[in-house]
Structures are given as structure tokens and as C-alpha cells.
């Protein structure tokens, strides 16, 4: 009886090895994306969202021609930087939260990165990404939204414009 179990177990293990071995190897690529976020004044104290619609273009993201059957298996945000046109643009902003959302009903919005409090005086805010946020499902869509919530500590009459630079680690095969 034991011998039978060992035999079947070994065959099963070998089969799994063969199946996995035949899969194409997973590759990793770091893609950089830029996007603008605009808030039209007057803005009020508290959280103010701005969003950007991102069209997914795998060829430009991966820097390679897209081959048939290529599949993105994992995407994580590695870095997120928001900067204003001038050093004073971040004045009065207490917190910044970056989230990802989609019109697809099966995808729920996820927070990706946060900076709280915002202490930068250089006009650049480097958000801290969450390593647990995995967003390959969003990159499988044709488009998704990036949403930046700027938490203002006081009312603000002027418009606000921040440029976001995001680095994504994309695993695919």
C-alpha cells in the first residue's frame, strides 16, 4: 500500500514538474508612466480628488512588441512621485493618496501609495507604495483610472496641477 502511494505521488510530482517546465519563463520589466492631475479651484479644505484616465498600451509599457499569448502575471507599483510646476505648489497639501480604479464591475478600487504628512518644500512628493497592492487585473483592461486625493489643510482659490511619475514592476510571460 505504501509503495503504491509513493509511486502515485512521484508520478504526480513529475507531471507537475513537466507542466511547469513547459511554461515560458516569467520576465520582469520596469515601466515608467507619467500622468498629469489637475484640480480646478476654488478648492476646499479636506480631501480633493483628481483623476487621470490611463490607456493600457502593453507594447510601450514593456518596450517590446507584444507576442501572441503574452500574459501579464503581476504588476506592482515600485515608486510614485508627484511634483508641481513650482516649489510652492505642494504648500498647503497635508496628504497625498494614490489609488487605482476601473469601470469593470469585477475590479475594486485599491489604494496604492500614500504620503502623510507631506513635508516637502522642493515641490516634489515621494509617496510610499504598498508592496501588497497587486494590480495586474487593472493592466489586463484597456484602460483604468489613477486617482490622486490631495488633502488640503486650508481652502485654496488657485488651480492645482501635479505631474505624476510612476514606476511599475511588470512580470509577464
Amino acid at each position: 500500500m505504501n509503495l503504491r502511494k509513493i509511486t502515485f505521488g512521484s508520478l504526480w510530482g513529475l507531471l507537475m514538474l513537466l507542466i511547469n517546465g513547459c511554461q515560458p519563463e516569467s520576465q520582469t520589466h520596469t515601466a515608467t508612466m507619467e500622468s498629469a492631475f489637475e484640480w480646478s479651484g476654488p478648492l476646499y479644505e479636506g480631501s480633493n480628488p483628481a483623476q487621470a484616465l490611463i490607456k493600457v498600451d502593453l507594447a510601450s509599457l514593456l518596450g517590446n512588441p507584444v507576442q501572441e499569448g503574452m500574459k501579464i502575471t503581476k504588476v506592482q507599483l515600485k515608486s510614485a512621485e508627484l511634483s508641481g510646476d513650482s516649489a510652492s505648489d505642494l504648500n498647503g497639501i497635508g496628504s497625498l493618496v494614490l489609488s487605482i480604479a476601473s469601470d469593470d464591475p469585477s475590479l475594486t478600487m485599491k489604494e496604492l501609495a500614500v504620503l502623510n504628512p507631506v513635508t516637502s518644500s522642493s515641490g516634489q512628493a515621494i509617496l510610499k507604495p504598498s508592496p501588497e497592492a497587486e494590480v495586474s487585473d487593472f493592466f489586463a483592461q484597456k484602460e483604468f483610472y489613477l486617482v490622486v486625493d490631495a488633502g488640503l489643510s486650508a481652502d485654496r482659490d488657485q488651480n492645482l496641477r501635479l505631474t505624476g511619475k510612476f514606476q511599475w514592476e511588470i512580470q509577464y510571460r
Binding site: G46, A101, D103, T108, E111, P131, V147, D149, G151
Partner: protein
């Protein structure tokens, strides 16, 4: 004269009809709402085609220990515990169905970091039944939210 009167009446009716009809029935959810416990106020906004509700006011906005504005300290993801609660989207990803219902969304309880499946039903223009549940609707709880307006 009679014809002119009829014309003007018809024009007024048409304009009025378009004025009161929302461009999207789902947009009736937009606005500021208060949960039954009165401890927060939530503003519903639209991102893309979905509806999200973010906390815009807290009865106790600051952490009693630190005195600083409350953050999402019970988030299961430790990297996101610094997200300010004021501004946090506790209602997410609602899609308008019909018959004054929004579904496919979730509701987040910042007190314990739990996320529940959720449906919203508008029982009248100023009242929502927000039902958070686990798995099936029977294992859930309904909270009644009321619409807020600026006091005159």
C-alpha cells in the same frame, strides 16, 4: 394668442421636464449622506462610471492619544495605515442597476479594518438602505443613511 399661450406652456413643460430629470439615474446617489450613528458624513462622487463615497466629516476627527487627525490605523495592509480617514473612500465601486439600486460595491469599516460586500437601495430621494453583508445578503446588516443639506 391662444396658440402663443399653448406654445409657451409647452416650452415651459419641456424645459422643466429636462431640468428635473438627472442625466443618469444613478447620479441621484451623488451628494452628502450621514450614517445612522451620526459619527461621520460621507460624500458620494463618481469616478468613471462607478460611485464612491468618501468620509468628509468625522464627529471625532482626531486620535485621542496623539491629537493628530485620525488615519486608517486598522487597515489590514500595514503600508496603508497612514491614509487619512477624512477623505477615505469607505464606499467603493458601486454600479447603478435599476429600480434605485446600486450594487457590486463594498463598504469599509475603519473601526476594525473589515470590508463587506454591499448594496445600496434608495428608498426615497433622501434615504438610503446600505446593506453590508458577508457572502450572502442574509448574513448582513442594513444601515439607513440620510441625505444632508446645508442649513439655511
Amino acid at each position: 394668442m391662444k396658440k402663443l399661450t399653448l406654445f409657451l406652456m409647452g416650452l415651459a413643460l419641456c424645459i422643466q421636464a429636462y431640468a428635473i430629470m438627472p442625466s443618469d439615474d444613478g447620479d441621484r446617489l451623488l451628494g452628502v449622506w450621514e450614517p445612522s450613528n451620526g459619527r461621520a458624513r460621507v460624500k458620494v462622487e463618481k469616478i468613471g462610471s462607478k460611485y464612491f463615497g468618501k468620509i468628509v466629516w468625522l464627529k471625532e476627527p482626531n486620535d485621542p492619544k496623539s491629537g493628530l487627525p485620525k488615519t486608517d490605523m486598522n487597515n489590514p495592509d500595514a503600508n496603508l495605515r497612514n491614509v487619512p480617514l477624512k477623505g477615505y473612500r469607505m464606499l467603493k465601486d458601486f454600479v447603478y442597476q435599476e429600480n434605485s439600486q446600486w450594487s457590486e460595491g463594498t463598504i469599509y469599516d475603519p473601526l476594525n479594518g473589515s470590508t463587506y460586500s454591499c448594496t445600496i437601495k434608495m428608498t426615497d430621494p433622501n434615504t438610503l438602505d446600505i446593506r453590508g453583508y458577508i457572502g450572502v445578503s442574509a448574513f448582513g446588516r442594513t444601515d439607513v443613511w440620510k441625505r444632508l443639506a446645508v442649513k439655511k
